[in-house]
Symmetry: C2
Protein backbone atom coordinates (compact mmCIF):
# COMPACT_ATOMS: atom_id res chain seq x y z
CA UNK A 1 0.00 0.00 0.00
CA UNK A 2 1.37 3.42 -0.91
CA UNK A 3 1.82 6.07 1.75
CA UNK A 4 -0.76 8.20 -0.04
CA UNK A 5 -3.42 5.48 0.28
CA UNK A 6 -3.66 5.91 4.04
CA UNK A 7 -5.89 8.89 4.73
CA UNK A 8 -4.64 11.53 7.15
CA UNK A 9 -6.72 14.30 8.78
CA UNK A 10 -6.72 17.89 7.54
CA UNK A 11 -4.43 19.70 9.95
CA UNK A 12 -4.08 22.98 8.07
CA UNK A 13 -5.57 24.95 10.99
CA UNK A 14 -3.63 23.22 13.75
CA UNK A 15 -1.62 25.43 16.13
CA UNK A 16 1.69 24.28 17.60
CA UNK A 17 3.54 25.03 20.84
CA UNK A 18 7.17 24.06 21.36
CA UNK A 19 8.58 23.41 24.83
CA UNK A 20 12.28 24.14 24.79
CA UNK A 21 11.71 26.02 21.57
CA UNK A 22 14.92 28.06 21.80
CA UNK A 23 17.15 25.00 21.28
CA UNK A 24 18.32 24.16 17.78
CA UNK A 25 15.80 21.36 17.25
CA UNK A 26 12.88 23.37 18.65
CA UNK A 27 13.73 26.50 16.68
CA UNK A 28 14.18 24.47 13.52
CA UNK A 29 10.83 22.72 13.88
CA UNK A 30 9.17 26.04 14.69
CA UNK A 31 10.60 27.59 11.55
CA UNK A 32 9.50 24.70 9.32
CA UNK A 33 5.98 24.68 10.80
CA UNK A 34 5.50 28.44 10.43
CA UNK A 35 6.77 28.12 6.89
CA UNK A 36 4.12 25.43 6.36
CA UNK A 37 1.46 27.91 7.54
CA UNK A 38 1.01 26.92 11.19
CA UNK A 39 0.68 29.35 14.07
CA UNK A 40 3.54 28.57 16.48
CA UNK A 41 4.35 29.53 20.07
CA UNK A 42 7.98 29.12 21.11
CA UNK A 43 8.22 28.24 24.80
CA UNK A 44 11.26 28.52 27.07
CA UNK A 45 12.18 28.78 30.74
CA UNK A 46 13.31 32.28 29.72
CA UNK A 47 10.40 34.13 28.09
CA UNK A 48 12.63 36.90 26.75
CA UNK A 49 14.83 34.38 24.92
CA UNK A 50 11.69 32.75 23.52
CA UNK A 51 10.45 36.11 22.20
CA UNK A 52 13.86 36.73 20.58
CA UNK A 53 13.81 33.29 18.96
CA UNK A 54 10.28 33.88 17.64
CA UNK A 55 11.29 37.26 16.21
CA UNK A 56 14.34 35.71 14.55
CA UNK A 57 12.21 32.98 12.95
CA UNK A 58 9.63 35.54 11.75
CA UNK A 59 12.44 37.39 9.95
CA UNK A 60 13.61 34.27 8.08
CA UNK A 61 12.42 33.51 4.50
CA UNK A 62 8.84 32.21 4.78
CA UNK A 63 8.86 32.92 8.52
CA UNK A 64 5.96 35.31 8.04
CA UNK A 65 3.54 32.73 6.60
CA UNK A 66 1.82 32.44 10.00
CA UNK A 67 2.10 34.25 13.34
CA UNK A 68 4.90 33.13 15.66
CA UNK A 69 5.24 34.31 19.24
CA UNK A 70 7.41 33.47 22.22
CA UNK A 71 6.78 33.07 25.94
CA UNK A 72 7.22 30.81 28.92
CA UNK A 73 6.89 27.08 28.42
CA UNK A 74 3.45 27.24 30.06
CA UNK A 75 2.28 29.63 27.33
CA UNK A 76 3.31 27.11 24.66
CA UNK A 77 0.92 24.56 26.20
CA UNK A 78 -2.13 26.44 24.86
CA UNK A 79 -1.84 24.90 21.39
CA UNK A 80 -3.49 21.97 19.62
CA UNK A 81 -0.18 20.13 19.38
CA UNK A 82 2.68 20.63 21.84
CA UNK A 83 6.18 19.49 20.87
CA UNK A 84 8.60 18.57 23.68
CA UNK A 85 12.09 19.57 22.51
CA UNK A 86 13.88 20.06 25.83
CA UNK A 87 17.22 18.48 26.78
CA UNK A 88 16.76 15.04 28.31
CA UNK A 89 18.07 15.96 31.80
CA UNK A 90 15.20 18.43 32.37
CA UNK A 91 12.49 16.34 30.66
CA UNK A 92 10.90 14.73 33.71
CA UNK A 93 10.75 17.84 35.90
CA UNK A 94 9.37 20.06 33.15
CA UNK A 95 6.58 17.68 32.21
CA UNK A 96 5.66 17.03 35.85
CA UNK A 97 5.17 20.77 36.34
CA UNK A 98 3.19 21.28 33.13
CA UNK A 99 0.98 18.17 33.38
CA UNK A 100 -2.23 20.09 34.24
CA UNK A 101 -1.64 22.56 31.37
CA UNK A 102 -1.06 19.72 28.91
CA UNK A 103 -4.23 17.77 29.82
CA UNK A 104 -6.17 16.90 26.67
CA UNK A 105 -3.40 18.12 24.34
CA UNK A 106 -1.60 16.11 21.70
CA UNK A 107 1.99 16.00 22.95
CA UNK A 108 4.86 15.12 20.60
CA UNK A 109 8.01 13.98 22.36
CA UNK A 110 11.12 14.34 20.19
CA UNK A 111 13.72 13.96 22.94
CA UNK A 112 16.69 11.60 22.43
CA UNK A 113 18.27 10.41 25.69
CA UNK A 114 21.88 10.14 24.51
CA UNK A 115 25.26 10.27 26.12
CA UNK A 116 28.48 11.33 24.41
CA UNK A 117 32.05 10.28 25.03
CA UNK A 118 35.27 10.15 23.02
CA UNK A 119 33.85 7.28 20.93
CA UNK A 120 30.74 9.20 19.96
CA UNK A 121 27.07 9.02 20.92
CA UNK A 122 25.33 6.16 22.71
CA UNK A 123 21.85 5.65 24.18
CA UNK A 124 21.35 6.26 27.89
CA UNK A 125 19.43 3.78 30.01
CA UNK A 126 15.94 5.16 30.59
CA UNK A 127 13.95 3.71 33.46
CA UNK A 128 10.60 4.20 31.73
CA UNK A 129 11.98 2.57 28.56
CA UNK A 130 12.09 5.78 26.53
CA UNK A 131 11.60 9.53 26.85
CA UNK A 132 8.20 9.09 25.19
CA UNK A 133 7.09 6.49 27.72
CA UNK A 134 8.31 8.73 30.53
CA UNK A 135 6.19 11.53 29.04
CA UNK A 136 3.18 9.22 28.82
CA UNK A 137 3.64 8.19 32.45
CA UNK A 138 3.91 11.81 33.63
CA UNK A 139 1.08 13.07 31.42
CA UNK A 140 -1.75 10.56 31.87
CA UNK A 141 -4.34 13.15 30.73
CA UNK A 142 -2.48 13.99 27.50
CA UNK A 143 -2.38 12.22 24.15
CA UNK A 144 1.33 11.43 23.99
CA UNK A 145 3.07 10.60 20.71
CA UNK A 146 6.74 10.56 19.65
CA UNK A 147 8.21 11.94 16.42
CA UNK A 148 10.87 14.18 14.83
CA UNK A 149 13.78 12.37 16.52
CA UNK A 150 16.04 12.11 13.51
CA UNK A 151 15.76 15.31 11.57
CA UNK A 152 18.93 17.38 11.49
CA UNK A 153 18.67 20.73 13.29
CA UNK A 154 21.26 22.04 10.83
CA UNK A 155 18.93 21.36 7.91
CA UNK A 156 15.81 22.56 9.74
CA UNK A 157 17.33 25.96 10.51
CA UNK A 158 18.97 26.53 7.11
CA UNK A 159 16.66 28.92 5.21
CA UNK A 160 18.36 28.03 1.89
CA UNK A 161 17.05 24.49 2.15
CA UNK A 162 13.48 24.38 0.86
CA UNK A 163 12.83 20.67 1.12
CA UNK A 164 14.13 18.14 3.67
CA UNK A 165 14.02 14.63 2.21
CA UNK A 166 13.22 12.46 5.21
CA UNK A 167 10.44 10.40 6.68
CA UNK A 168 9.32 11.14 10.22
CA UNK A 169 8.62 8.01 12.27
CA UNK A 170 5.54 8.72 14.39
CA UNK A 171 4.71 6.52 17.39
CA UNK A 172 1.70 6.47 19.61
CA UNK A 173 -0.94 4.32 21.29
CA UNK A 174 -3.64 6.90 20.43
CA UNK A 175 -4.06 6.33 16.72
CA UNK A 176 -5.99 9.57 16.05
CA UNK A 177 -3.31 11.61 17.82
CA UNK A 178 -0.58 9.83 15.86
CA UNK A 179 -2.44 10.48 12.60
CA UNK A 180 -2.62 14.20 13.43
CA UNK A 181 1.15 14.27 14.04
CA UNK A 182 1.77 12.29 10.84
CA UNK A 183 -0.29 14.83 8.91
CA UNK A 184 1.56 17.72 10.57
CA UNK A 185 4.95 16.23 9.64
CA UNK A 186 3.74 15.68 6.09
CA UNK A 187 2.95 19.43 5.83
CA UNK A 188 6.70 20.17 5.98
CA UNK A 189 8.23 20.22 2.52
CA UNK A 190 9.98 16.91 1.73
CA UNK A 191 8.75 15.05 4.82
CA UNK A 192 6.27 12.23 5.28
CA UNK A 193 4.88 11.23 8.65
CA UNK A 194 4.92 7.44 8.79
CA UNK A 195 3.16 5.50 11.57
CA UNK A 196 5.89 3.37 13.16
CA UNK A 197 4.29 1.63 16.11
CA UNK A 198 3.21 1.98 19.72
CA UNK A 199 5.05 3.92 22.41
CA UNK A 200 6.62 0.73 23.75
CA UNK A 201 8.65 0.76 20.52
CA UNK A 202 9.84 4.37 20.94
CA UNK A 203 13.09 3.57 22.78
CA UNK A 204 14.93 2.24 19.76
CA UNK A 205 13.71 5.10 17.57
CA UNK A 206 15.15 7.61 20.05
CA UNK A 207 18.37 5.61 20.38
CA UNK A 208 18.78 5.28 16.61
CA UNK A 209 19.80 8.93 16.65
CA UNK A 210 23.18 7.72 17.97
CA UNK A 211 23.59 5.67 14.78
CA UNK A 212 22.63 8.62 12.59
CA UNK A 213 25.27 10.70 14.39
CA UNK A 214 27.82 7.94 13.63
CA UNK A 215 26.76 7.94 9.98
CA UNK A 216 27.01 11.73 9.84
CA UNK A 217 30.58 11.52 11.15
CA UNK A 218 31.59 8.76 8.76
CA UNK A 219 30.14 10.39 5.64
CA UNK A 220 30.29 14.04 6.72
CA UNK A 221 26.60 14.41 5.99
CA UNK A 222 23.29 15.38 7.58
CA UNK A 223 21.44 12.16 7.04
CA UNK A 224 17.78 11.33 7.31
CA UNK A 225 15.79 8.16 6.81
CA UNK A 226 13.38 7.11 4.09
CA UNK A 227 11.13 4.11 4.46
CA UNK A 228 11.09 2.22 1.16
CA UNK A 229 8.17 0.36 -0.44
CA UNK A 230 5.47 2.77 0.81
CA UNK B 1 30.13 13.17 1.24
CA UNK B 2 28.46 10.71 -1.14
CA UNK B 3 28.34 7.01 -0.30
CA UNK B 4 30.48 6.32 -3.36
CA UNK B 5 33.27 8.56 -2.06
CA UNK B 6 34.10 6.18 0.77
CA UNK B 7 36.26 3.41 -0.63
CA UNK B 8 35.31 -0.18 0.15
CA UNK B 9 37.49 -3.28 -0.33
CA UNK B 10 37.11 -5.62 -3.30
CA UNK B 11 35.16 -8.57 -1.93
CA UNK B 12 34.35 -10.31 -5.19
CA UNK B 13 36.21 -13.47 -4.10
CA UNK B 14 34.81 -13.61 -0.56
CA UNK B 15 33.13 -16.85 0.54
CA UNK B 16 30.15 -16.84 2.90
CA UNK B 17 28.81 -19.31 5.47
CA UNK B 18 25.36 -18.94 7.00
CA UNK B 19 24.56 -20.35 10.45
CA UNK B 20 20.87 -21.12 10.62
CA UNK B 21 20.82 -20.91 6.86
CA UNK B 22 17.62 -22.92 6.47
CA UNK B 23 15.47 -20.17 8.05
CA UNK B 24 13.79 -17.63 5.80
CA UNK B 25 16.32 -14.86 6.48
CA UNK B 26 19.33 -17.18 6.07
CA UNK B 27 18.03 -18.79 2.90
CA UNK B 28 17.16 -15.39 1.45
CA UNK B 29 20.61 -13.95 2.16
CA UNK B 30 22.22 -17.11 0.75
CA UNK B 31 20.23 -16.77 -2.44
CA UNK B 32 21.10 -13.10 -2.90
CA UNK B 33 24.80 -13.71 -2.24
CA UNK B 34 25.03 -16.64 -4.65
CA UNK B 35 23.22 -14.51 -7.19
CA UNK B 36 25.88 -11.85 -6.60
CA UNK B 37 28.57 -14.43 -7.39
CA UNK B 38 29.65 -15.56 -3.92
CA UNK B 39 30.33 -19.14 -2.93
CA UNK B 40 27.93 -19.92 -0.05
CA UNK B 41 27.66 -22.71 2.53
CA UNK B 42 24.28 -23.10 4.19
CA UNK B 43 24.68 -24.37 7.76
CA UNK B 44 22.05 -25.98 9.96
CA UNK B 45 21.72 -28.26 12.98
CA UNK B 46 20.28 -30.68 10.44
CA UNK B 47 22.79 -31.20 7.63
CA UNK B 48 20.22 -32.93 5.38
CA UNK B 49 17.91 -29.92 5.59
CA UNK B 50 20.85 -27.63 4.82
CA UNK B 51 21.69 -29.69 1.71
CA UNK B 52 18.04 -29.50 0.60
CA UNK B 53 18.00 -25.72 1.11
CA UNK B 54 21.23 -25.35 -0.87
CA UNK B 55 19.85 -27.45 -3.73
CA UNK B 56 16.64 -25.40 -3.75
CA UNK B 57 18.61 -22.14 -3.95
CA UNK B 58 20.84 -23.51 -6.71
CA UNK B 59 17.70 -24.21 -8.76
CA UNK B 60 16.37 -20.64 -8.44
CA UNK B 61 17.02 -18.01 -11.16
CA UNK B 62 20.65 -16.92 -10.83
CA UNK B 63 21.21 -19.51 -8.10
CA UNK B 64 23.87 -21.13 -10.28
CA UNK B 65 26.17 -18.10 -10.46
CA UNK B 66 28.41 -19.59 -7.76
CA UNK B 67 28.59 -22.93 -5.94
CA UNK B 68 26.25 -23.38 -2.98
CA UNK B 69 26.45 -26.33 -0.60
CA UNK B 70 24.81 -27.33 2.67
CA UNK B 71 26.08 -28.97 5.83
CA UNK B 72 26.22 -28.73 9.59
CA UNK B 73 26.63 -25.29 11.15
CA UNK B 74 30.29 -26.15 11.86
CA UNK B 75 30.88 -26.63 8.13
CA UNK B 76 29.56 -23.13 7.45
CA UNK B 77 32.27 -21.71 9.72
CA UNK B 78 34.97 -22.40 7.11
CA UNK B 79 34.22 -19.24 5.14
CA UNK B 80 35.68 -15.74 4.98
CA UNK B 81 32.47 -14.23 6.32
CA UNK B 82 30.02 -16.12 8.54
CA UNK B 83 26.46 -14.80 8.91
CA UNK B 84 24.59 -15.66 12.12
CA UNK B 85 20.91 -16.04 11.18
CA UNK B 86 19.65 -18.34 13.93
CA UNK B 87 16.58 -17.68 16.10
CA UNK B 88 17.45 -15.60 19.16
CA UNK B 89 16.68 -18.33 21.75
CA UNK B 90 19.49 -20.57 20.44
CA UNK B 91 21.96 -17.77 19.71
CA UNK B 92 24.12 -18.00 22.84
CA UNK B 93 24.47 -21.78 22.94
CA UNK B 94 25.27 -22.10 19.25
CA UNK B 95 28.00 -19.44 19.32
CA UNK B 96 29.52 -20.82 22.52
CA UNK B 97 29.91 -24.19 20.84
CA UNK B 98 31.31 -22.80 17.58
CA UNK B 99 33.68 -20.23 19.11
CA UNK B 100 36.91 -22.15 18.27
CA UNK B 101 35.73 -22.69 14.66
CA UNK B 102 34.89 -18.99 14.28
CA UNK B 103 38.26 -17.72 15.55
CA UNK B 104 39.69 -15.18 13.11
CA UNK B 105 36.53 -15.07 10.97
CA UNK B 106 34.43 -12.05 10.18
CA UNK B 107 31.10 -12.79 11.85
CA UNK B 108 27.94 -10.92 10.85
CA UNK B 109 25.17 -11.06 13.42
CA UNK B 110 21.74 -10.34 11.94
CA UNK B 111 19.63 -11.62 14.82
CA UNK B 112 16.75 -9.52 16.16
CA UNK B 113 15.77 -10.37 19.74
CA UNK B 114 12.02 -9.66 19.50
CA UNK B 115 8.93 -10.80 21.30
CA UNK B 116 5.45 -10.92 19.83
CA UNK B 117 2.07 -10.56 21.47
CA UNK B 118 -1.42 -9.49 20.40
CA UNK B 119 -0.20 -5.89 20.02
CA UNK B 120 2.63 -6.84 17.66
CA UNK B 121 6.39 -7.03 17.97
CA UNK B 122 8.53 -5.51 20.71
CA UNK B 123 12.23 -5.72 21.66
CA UNK B 124 13.28 -8.21 24.30
CA UNK B 125 15.63 -7.19 27.07
CA UNK B 126 19.10 -8.52 26.27
CA UNK B 127 21.59 -8.71 29.09
CA UNK B 128 24.60 -8.05 26.85
CA UNK B 129 22.81 -5.03 25.34
CA UNK B 130 22.20 -6.64 21.95
CA UNK B 131 22.56 -9.92 20.11
CA UNK B 132 25.67 -8.51 18.42
CA UNK B 133 27.29 -7.64 21.75
CA UNK B 134 26.44 -11.10 23.04
CA UNK B 135 28.16 -12.54 19.96
CA UNK B 136 31.20 -10.34 20.55
CA UNK B 137 31.40 -11.47 24.18
CA UNK B 138 31.14 -15.16 23.24
CA UNK B 139 33.51 -14.89 20.26
CA UNK B 140 36.49 -12.88 21.54
CA UNK B 141 38.74 -14.31 18.79
CA UNK B 142 36.33 -13.35 15.97
CA UNK B 143 35.78 -10.07 14.18
CA UNK B 144 32.14 -9.48 15.07
CA UNK B 145 29.92 -7.10 13.10
CA UNK B 146 26.15 -6.67 12.84
CA UNK B 147 24.10 -6.15 9.65
CA UNK B 148 21.13 -7.30 7.56
CA UNK B 149 18.62 -6.83 10.40
CA UNK B 150 15.92 -5.09 8.43
CA UNK B 151 15.74 -6.70 5.04
CA UNK B 152 12.51 -8.55 4.38
CA UNK B 153 12.89 -12.33 4.01
CA UNK B 154 9.87 -12.24 1.70
CA UNK B 155 11.73 -9.97 -0.71
CA UNK B 156 15.04 -11.82 -0.36
CA UNK B 157 13.51 -15.16 -1.32
CA UNK B 158 11.30 -13.88 -4.17
CA UNK B 159 13.16 -14.75 -7.41
CA UNK B 160 11.01 -12.29 -9.38
CA UNK B 161 12.51 -9.38 -7.46
CA UNK B 162 15.82 -8.42 -9.05
CA UNK B 163 16.68 -5.42 -6.92
CA UNK B 164 15.93 -4.74 -3.25
CA UNK B 165 15.99 -1.00 -2.60
CA UNK B 166 17.34 -0.75 0.93
CA UNK B 167 20.43 0.31 2.82
CA UNK B 168 22.08 -2.17 5.15
CA UNK B 169 23.23 -0.63 8.43
CA UNK B 170 26.58 -2.23 9.30
CA UNK B 171 27.98 -1.96 12.83
CA UNK B 172 31.33 -2.98 14.20
CA UNK B 173 34.28 -1.95 16.32
CA UNK B 174 36.69 -3.53 13.80
CA UNK B 175 36.53 -1.03 10.95
CA UNK B 176 38.15 -3.28 8.36
CA UNK B 177 35.72 -6.08 9.13
CA UNK B 178 32.79 -3.65 8.93
CA UNK B 179 34.07 -2.35 5.57
CA UNK B 180 34.18 -5.91 4.22
CA UNK B 181 30.58 -6.47 5.29
CA UNK B 182 29.55 -3.13 3.82
CA UNK B 183 31.14 -4.11 0.53
CA UNK B 184 29.45 -7.52 0.63
CA UNK B 185 26.03 -5.93 1.22
CA UNK B 186 26.67 -3.50 -1.62
CA UNK B 187 27.23 -6.46 -3.99
CA UNK B 188 23.53 -7.34 -3.65
CA UNK B 189 21.45 -5.56 -6.30
CA UNK B 190 19.78 -2.46 -4.87
CA UNK B 191 21.56 -2.51 -1.51
CA UNK B 192 24.21 -0.28 0.01
CA UNK B 193 26.18 -1.20 3.10
CA UNK B 194 26.35 1.92 5.28
CA UNK B 195 28.63 2.13 8.33
CA UNK B 196 26.29 2.92 11.23
CA UNK B 197 28.42 2.86 14.36
CA UNK B 198 30.04 0.66 16.96
CA UNK B 199 28.58 -2.52 18.42
CA UNK B 200 27.40 -0.63 21.51
CA UNK B 201 24.88 1.00 19.16
CA UNK B 202 23.60 -2.31 17.74
CA UNK B 203 20.73 -2.80 20.21
CA UNK B 204 18.48 -0.14 18.74
CA UNK B 205 19.21 -1.28 15.18
CA UNK B 206 18.07 -4.81 16.11
CA UNK B 207 15.04 -3.46 17.99
CA UNK B 208 14.05 -1.18 15.11
CA UNK B 209 12.88 -4.31 13.33
CA UNK B 210 9.82 -4.16 15.61
CA UNK B 211 9.00 -0.74 14.15
CA UNK B 212 9.44 -1.97 10.60
CA UNK B 213 7.04 -4.82 11.39
CA UNK B 214 4.54 -2.22 12.67
CA UNK B 215 4.99 -0.19 9.47
CA UNK B 216 4.54 -3.31 7.35
CA UNK B 217 1.25 -4.01 9.12
CA UNK B 218 -0.01 -0.45 8.80
CA UNK B 219 0.85 -0.05 5.11
CA UNK B 220 0.69 -3.72 4.06
CA UNK B 221 4.21 -3.45 2.65
CA UNK B 222 7.67 -4.98 2.92
CA UNK B 223 9.57 -1.89 3.93
CA UNK B 224 13.25 -1.17 4.02
CA UNK B 225 15.29 1.86 4.99
CA UNK B 226 17.27 4.32 2.94
CA UNK B 227 19.70 6.74 4.50
CA UNK B 228 19.29 10.13 2.78
CA UNK B 229 22.01 12.69 1.99
CA UNK B 230 24.75 10.13 1.32
Amino acid sequence: MAFEDVELPDVSGVTVGILGGTGAQGRGLGYRLVRAGHRVTIGSRDAARARDAAAAIAAMPGGDRAPITGGENAAACDADVVIVAVPWPGHGDLLTGLAPRLAGRIVVDCVNPLGFDERGAYPLEVEAGSAAEQAAALLPESRVTAAFHHVSATLLTDPEIESIATDILVLGDDRAAAATVQALATRIEGMRGVFAGRLRNAGQVEALTANLIAINRRYRAHVGIRVTDI
